[in-house]
Symmetry: C2
Subunit: 421 residues, 2 copies
């Protein structure tokens, strides 16, 4: 083995990378070109079994923890050296696309293969990890939170996909609550974390730019809001006597969009679901239950946005003489990513002659679970039409290769920054 | 038997009427004081079996037709005389109240008993009918439409409660499609129709007034509207790039109320249900499906209102760059009731010293199925708080008795108008 020379650029094996990607995309594939691999479903476990075989074929060490996270390990560093984690996830949203997750896992594996094939020794060991349930069919960021020691018994008791679904998934995978809680790693064992991912938005495409360097992962907050009126006969009750929950809800939904456009141009918000009850043609709606989510990259703005939106809901309820109940369901603060990782990514892109911008990730990622344990960074490549979580999700193969080569370069640079610090 | 003397006022037997009412209210009763007797359910059939026994105990003739309509018949007229129908329905909305329907059936039966006990002969025969499925758990106004010859095979094939529920109900009741279509009566066999019902609204209470004389049953029209945008990631898609179906739907829901208040003060409209899809916190809604219903007593206004509301939906869709699909689900034109019946009711109320107003029925009733076959009329009594289709539905017993006595008086007056014409 020889030490890494930063003047030399290493490249992944494109043909091998593509062949692996295409075989993986067939596992749990749907007719419309997408994949259906919810966490710990049969198709997801089939993808994970295939990944284990690929690791062994590549003559890398296979590792698995109590949260079901599965890794290729390459001991390219000194004994007891910390590990630089690379990775993403093989699970998908229900009926999702083939790029979201798998691209990062296979690029991570490819990086280990290239380092191994070139006989490079580094100040750190390398690990290419597939995290469990990033997408949240069960809990969300489950494997990365478990590894970071942030997954709690309460999270396992109240999974957003329902406890029954979690139990069934754990049974299929041979896992249990105790094993998940045992997956915690000591922070000093981690030298850093790098992840390649599709952007899932239109910004790289609009510029156009080849590589995105993520500065921050947005904070995400979700609420359940309930406007409460009174059910009544929709034929015989005069309009002015009605306490119609749909009016407050509708006014609020319009104001959410207007508020973001006028006062929070860097944020986004969504009302993704409404349920009216009793829900009949001829009954004035008594209750309107609303699913609200909003996101901001800046902690103070995040907090002001929360107060503003809940205030708007309260005012809309008052205007139509309705009651309002609000339940905070989850709040993940904005997560700044490491400048060390950003520098490594930028240098790697420059060395490859790829243009780049810094941007905020509007979606959540496993990197946010790790960012306060070790330097974490993310590389984005363009999503065609900005579409994701859909079978229509697509990234040109050239962009996938560019991203993987940047991951290789950033990995080598970051690994060598560790000892110089 | 002797002929009726219009200077004499007949009264129902209050104690017997109340006892019957309270026994009936226990069949299918719910813990909160309501009843759950959807058409042709077990509890509804139990109520109908009890009604048959009550008819036989009262020494009246029991009749039943192919639509499941069940009647007490009193041959108080000449041979081959037409029948003056009195009645309402014993079915309820799911988890409804105890007054909506049963009050009219028992007052009708009480009328026949009083005429029989007083040995009165009339120019017509009398029949106290319980119509099948007025509330529409299966189709709506089913028994009265069948009797009027207006029920079609298409109605039976596409019931709003689903074909399976209709088949199961028919099986329980020993009925079938052919029997329903055979229930048609010859119009000249009908001398008229009178129905006592609770108002289900607050107008009698607001005046306050003891008796409502219905002039018209409103026209009711229902639509299924679908706003169509594009599903996308709610974190990564900029607000201005979204095609969010919830925005068009919300704007429309607010405009429905404003349009009625500003331009159609005599009409009502309701959006009773919304369904957003895919329906997740983090996905921009692609589709918003809306249940719209509106009502008007005046045919020309009814038609203008329809055009206006559909136009508003189209404009709301356009404003937010959405598609719009609309399906007309049902349209019942406004139904004026007989002035002969209104006069008979007014004279009966005057004779009892009860104050009264003329009003429009905002709800649909079996009377609308019969109104173009024979002179049809309706008597309303006050609904406390204007509430109905709810276990909280309540009418003071004194008002129930007043209504039943007006039905007796109006029946005798109308029966005697028949020969004088």
């Amino acid at each position: 083995m020889h030490m890494f020379d930063s003047s030399k650029t290493l490249y992944i094996n494109e043909d091998r990378f593509r062949k692996d990607f295409e075989i993986l995309a067939k596992i749990g594939s749907t007719e419309d070109g997408g994949v259906h691999r919810p966490a710990l479903s049969k198709s997801h476990l089939e993808a994970r079994a295939w990944y284990r075989d690929l690791i062994l074929e590549s003559e890398l060490e296979f590792r698995c923890d109590g949260a079901g996270n599965r890794s290729a390990f390459l001991a390219c560093g000194p004994k007891n050296a910390p590990t630089l984690l690379l990775g993403s996830h093989l699970d998908s949203v229900p009926y999702g696309g083939r790029f979201d997750g798998p691209l990062g896992v296979l690029a991570a594996l490819e990086t280990l293969r290239v380092v191994k094939e070139n006989g490079i020794s580094l100040p750190v060991n390398l690990e290419a990890i597939d995290f469990t349930d990033e997408e949240g069919s069960l809990i969300g960021l489950t494997g990365s939170y478990a590894l970071a020691g942030k997954l709690t018994k309460e999270d396992l008791d109240n999974p957003r996909g329902g406890r029954q679904a979690l139990l069934e998934g754990m049974k299929r995978a041979g896992l249990d609550d105790a094993s998940f809680l045992s997956a915690r790693r000591i922070p000093k064992s981690l030298a850093g974390y790098l992840e390649l991912h599709i952007e899932q938005g239109p910004r790289l495409l609009k510029k156009p730019t080849q590589i995105g360097i993520v500065t921050t992962i947005v904070g995400i907050c979700s609420y359940h809001l309930r406007f409460i009126g009174r059910a009544n006969h929709a034929g015989t009750t005069p309009m002015l006597d009605r306490l119609d929950a749909s009016q407050g809800a509708s006014s609020f939904i319009l104001q959410v969009r207007q508020t973001i456009l006028e006062k929070f141009p860097e944020c986004v918000a969504n009302v993704g679901n409404i349920h009216l009850s009793p829900g009949a043609f001829n009954i004035v709606p008594e209750r309107a239950d609303i699913a609200l989510e909003f996101r901001s990259a800046e902690p103070q703005t995040f907090s002001i946005l929360e107060k503003t939106l809940i205030g708007k809901a309260r005012a809309a309820a008052k205007q139509f003489r309705l009651g309002l109940e609000s339940d905070l369901l989850s709040k993940h603060s904005p997560t700044p990513l490491s400048s060390q990782a950003q520098n490594a990514i930028e240098q790697a892109a420059d060395a490859l002659g790829l243009n780049h911008i810094h941007l905020v990730s509007g979606a959540g990622h496993d990197a946010q679970a790790l960012a306060d344990l070790c330097p974490a960074g993310m590389i984005f490549v363009p999503s065609q039409l900005g579409i994701s979580h859909s079978p229509k999700e697509f990234t040109h193969w050239e962009d996938c290769v560019n991203g993987a080569n940047v991951l290789v370069g950033a990995t080598l640079r970051m690994a060598n920054t560790i000892i110089t610090e």
